[in-house]
Point group: C2
Chain length 96, copies 2
């Protein structure tokens, strides 16, 4: 009985993992677009004020069970990866 329950919970977890995967990649595409717009207007890609605002939005909307500090740490990792992706795009553009 408990194994059946475990299998069912794991199926739900896999489903959430795949939704997270799609959303993280969707986020990356938006960050790439933002990077292109900023690049065309000569703005720097990393904007600490904007990053702070995004982290504040997470704090305001967190209903748990994760602590806000844990979530902000995870989001910072996602922001960092997005920024690195934009830098890769820049490198590729320079090589063309």
């Amino acid at each position: 009985m408990s194994n059946e329950r475990l299998d069912n919970l794991r199926e739900q977890l896999d489903d959430v993992n795949l939704k997270l995967l799609d959303l993280i990649n969707e986020r990356a595409k938006l960050a790439q677009e933002i990077g292109e717009v900023k690049s065309r207007s000569g703005q720097k890609r990393f904007d600490p004020v904007r990053e702070r605002k995004m982290l504040d939005l997470i704090a305001e909307n967190n209903e748990g069970p994760f602590e806000t500090s844990t979530l902000q740490h995870l989001f910072k990792q996602i922001f960092k990866a997005s920024l690195e992706l934009q830098e890769d795009d820049n490198q590729k553009a320079l090589l063309v």
Copy 2:
């Protein structure tokens, strides 16, 4: 014009951030439930074989733009945070 486009993209990004927040917390609740079921049947909470399967599922379903290695790194951080959350629950249970 480009500022209007930037504002629009940022609104979309905030929307995706909030969806990610909800999904990460939804995932945490499922991980807590799994932890409880495993705890009741005397199983260890960390299961490297299961973690490998979840990472493989990410690899199989990744359509980019993020590299699979980047996504797996991000998911490992989420797994780690979930495990720490389960350990906190365990501590609390011991203190009751």
